[in-house]
């Protein structure tokens, strides 16, 4: 039997990949948008629905960045509401382990698991910067090197809390008068990060432990995923890159006593369909130009140049000024960690050889869609990725809210089902069931 594909839907977020200017683009905050996308994902028999998180609005050159979508709801709150309009779809929330406490996060995840009848998932992220910390009691105290230490212990503590109620601790027998077993919820955790004790006050959820997602890509992040996660949210979406990542991570599982099937690797991918390959390519280029307005292209270069470039014409040649390689001008997003000077040199060469304007260059080097073609081609490629161990499935990140996965569900999913590599009906009820996790 061929490997079965797992699919998730990513609600379009606050990057420039989300095209808010499209005539089809709807609200980024109205509940109706979340409901529409989630219902479509469930119609397509997706494994889960995914919400990202950001705890401080992004800034460029000391001002709130205004060119991309800004603003989103608190993820667990929206997912709990979505539990009321879906029946099978998994519900994955991104929740930070630095600016939260394990007791509160564990009980919120356990609550979502109860209220969704076993569909809760937690994407553990470790942002630690002082910029974000300015919104929180604890501030930005955490050294970067400690973020995984805290995340590991945070997750371990959450598991101790989830396990503090045995599956049969809740009795509720009026005749005998026993509501719970003795000591239900008792816990004590003593560690370098957390020293807490008492009694956890949410009974064990239907999944026992919610599904854990992890997105870190550093060696430390990969190790954390191998030891602790059920799903990796990966950025390795090409065939070769994906296979290397897949092997690297799955090879790490053995030393934790885990099997390869215990950790599902799902890269975030984008797609563009057309009636012909050519039409799809044209559409893809059109979308890329929507994603990269002239202003967006300039801001993108400013983040690399580290200085104000607002005087330059985005349809003109690349800036002749030299980059400022100091601390940079972008805040609140994943920082470019490479050699910015080398990138500038490489881009200038590329632009010179192809005659690119600033915007052409930005369109070329950012946001290239992963799968572009007819529905049949895309279905073939997706299947090839999974069958040749480049991944176990995909997190589909559409570029338009809320209709962005409609075409995928209507055209690609049926082809995957025909190939016998994707479910035609949900066979279980919990997210662990869908992901074939024990």
């Amino acid at each position: 039997m061929p490997k079965q594909i797992h699919l998730a839907a990513h609600f379009p977020g606050v990057n420039n990949t989300t095209v808010w200017s499209d005539p089809e683009a709807g609200s980024q905050i109205d509940f109706a948008s979340f409901e529409r996308l989630a219902r479509t994902a469930e119609r397509g028999k997706f494994d889960f629905f995914f919400l990202a998180e950001g705890l401080r609005l992004r800034e460029l050159k000391g001002k709130i960045y205004d060119l991309d979508v800004v603003g989103r709801p608190e993820s667990l709150t929206v997912l709990s509401a979505l539990a009321g309009v879906t029946t099978h779809l998994g519900l994955a929330a991104t929740v930070n382990s630095t600016f939260n406490e394990p007791y509160e996060v564990a009980r919120r995840l356990a609550t979502l698991d109860h209220l969704s009848d076993g569909r809760a998932a937690w994407n553990v992220v470790t942002s630690w910067d002082a910029f974000t910390g300015e919104n929180f009691r604890r501030g930005g105290y955490l050294a970067e090197a400690d973020r995984y230490a805290r995340a590991r212990e945070f997750l371990a503590t959450a598991r101790e809390l989830w396990d503090s109620w045995s599956p049969d601790a809740l009795i509720g027998d009026a005749d005998s008068g026993r509501f719970v077993t003795e000591g239900a919820g008792e816990f004590r955790h003593e560690g370098p990060q957390f020293s807490i004790s008492g009694r956890f006050n949410v009974p064990r959820g239907p999944q026992g432990r919610p599904v854990i997602l992890q997105a870190g890509d550093s060696p430390e992040g990969r190790e954390f995923a191998a030891s602790d996660a059920d799903v990796i949210f990966s950025r390795h979406s090409t065939l070769e890159d994906g296979r290397a990542f897949y092997k690297d991570v799955k090879d790490r599982l053995g030393k934790y006593g885990r099997r390869p099937s215990d950790l599902k690797i799902l890269p975030a991918v984008t797609y563009v369909l057309g009636d012909t390959g050519e039409e799809a390519q044209e559409r893809a280029l059109h979308i890329r130009r929507q994603q990269v307005s002239g202003q967006t292209a300039l801001s993108f270069l400013e983040a690399i140049w580290g200085r104000d470039l607002s005087g330059y014409d985005p349809e003109g040649p690349l800036p002749d000024v030299e980059p400022d390689l100091g601390e940079g001008v972008s805040r609140g997003r994943a920082q470019f960690r490479g050699d910015r000077g080398a990138v500038v040199k490489q881009w200038r060469e590329l632009a010179a050889s192809r005659g690119y304007s600033i915007r052409d260059l930005a369109v070329e080097v950012t946001g290239r869609q992963t799968f572009v073609g007819t529905a049949a081609t895309v279905a073939d490629q997706l299947n090839e990725h999974v069958q040749t161990d480049a991944c176990d499935g995909f997190i589909i990140a559409p570029h338009v809210t809320p209709g962005g996965i409609d075409a995928f569900v209507d055209q690609v999913v049926p082809l995957l089902q025909e190939k016998g590599v994707f479910r035609t009906e949900y066979s279980g009820t919990t997210l662990r069931d869908h992901l074939e996790l024990s």
Binding site: A174, V180, N201
Partner: protein, 389 residues
């Protein structure tokens, strides 16, 4: 004068042995189906809103510390998420979850309640609550609290917690205002999604926390979701007078009801409250026609029911008398705590409300869909309107 009614939902009801009542559904207390049923019942009774209790400590029969009893309800769900779960399965009912001002992050709570308001299309409220017991604090390990003796409260310590609660509410309210209503512009010509001059840093600096802002969540549909506080003394009355729209109090007699109302109006003057006066609700624990039911449950629990609020065991007609009598004093609403769920909630919807309707004292259909509006409160402009730099 409009009369407002709400129901306080908690576990199997407010009698500790409620879960042993024949009508109770003790194995379903953590299921969405159970709570959706209660919300539907409250909506059938045209109630203004329901509140959801919450705390980080496991329930206990002792004031301080956990106990080892296994014959009472233990465990509860996160109130904000529970309220959100009910948003899409209700249409008019206000949803008012409790959160802790002592242990939670003001930023997370502000965006959580704002998100509930978006998900319910303007039906969110919030009940901030101080949690001064050491058992809650030990679940976080950040602070150590002295033992609390209800007979000899350390008012210095209590005041510190209430000052923190006021700071917390101030941060939450500023974050709700930190996006002006028309901040999202989607201006294709300039490529801007928002007008950033309409987003505002809140720059709150306090003794317990500092918060920079702005919120990550656009302004909630109500602008400011309804803020409600439960109080038993002047310190919480002053917190409510500074921070809330609605105050729940616990008079045990008409005379006490009058006295408390006077204290509340004094508290408003003390803190120099501006704008709408507090809407004062009386909390009453209700077990309808319940002398026998209560006696049976008391017997099962091994103790007579104790409550901070008045315990009412008369008929729906008698409760209607009390409600209309106290309303004359200036009480605009009542928060009823059903002794047994769903029985006493069904009595509210099926008997008390029709009785009040017969007397022309309660709505016969929902008019407003937005909670603030139902309470007669205007939708406030953001405090930052017109302050663009």
């Amino acid at each position: 004068m409009t009369l407002h009614l709400s129901a306080a939902l908690d576990g199997a009801g407010w009698h500790p042995a409620a879960w042993r009542d024949p009508a109770a559904r003790p194995r379903e207390l953590f299921s969405a189906r159970y709570w959706a049923g209660l919300a539907a019942e409250a909506e059938r009774g045209l109630l203004d809103f329901v509140t959801f209790e919450d705390a980080f400590a496991l329930q206990s029969s002792r004031f301080e510390g956990h106990d080892d009893r296994t014959d009472q309800v233990r465990g509860r769900l996160d109130a904000v998420l529970l309220a959100a779960r009910l948003a899409p399965v209700t249409t008019h009912l206000g949803l008012v979850p409790t959160t802790s001002t002592t242990h939670s992050e003001p930023f997370h709570v502000a965006v959580g309640i704002a998100s509930l308001d978006h998900a319910s299309r303007g039906r969110a409220g919030w009940r901030p609550q101080v949690h001064g017991r050491d058992v809650d604090a030990r679940h976080f390990g950040r602070r150590e609290f002295p033992p609390l003796d209800p007979a000899a409260l350390d008012w210095g310590f209590v005041s510190t917690l209430f000052d923190e609660a006021a700071d917390f509410a101030e941060v939450v309210r500023r974050l709700w205002d930190s996006w002006e209503d028309d901040a999202e512009i989607r201006d294709a010509a300039t490529g801007r999604f928002i007008d950033r001059d309409k987003l505002h840093y809140i720059d709150f600096v306090g003794e317990h926390f500092s918060v920079r802002g702005p919120s990550i969540t656009p302004r909630p549909p109500q602008g400011q979701p309804l803020v409600t506080v439960l109080g038993h003394d002047v310190v919480p009355y002053e917190l409510a007078a500074r921070s809330a729209d609605v105050l729940y109090v616990t008079p045990h007699s008409r005379e006490q009801a009058a006295t408390i109302l006077g204290q509340v109006r004094d508290a408003e003057r003390t803190v120099v409250r501006t704008g709408e006066p507090l809407k004062v609700f009386a909390d009453v624990l209700v077990i309808f026609d319940g002398a026998e039911r209560k006696a049976r449950l008391d017997d099962l629990d091994g103790a007579e029911l104790f409550s901070d609020a008045l315990i009412f065991t008369g008929s729906a007609g008698e409760l209607a008398d009390l409600i209309l009598d106290w309303r004359e004093l200036g009480y605009e609403g009542f928060r009823l705590r059903p002794g047994v769920l769903p029985t006493d909630l069904a009595e509210i919807s099926g008997k008390l409300v029709p009785e009040l309707q017969r007397r022309g004292a309660f709505r016969t259909s929902y008019q407003e869909t937005v909670l603030r509006e139902r309470l007669g409160l205007p939708r406030p402009l953001s405090r930052y309107t017109g302050t663009a730099r």
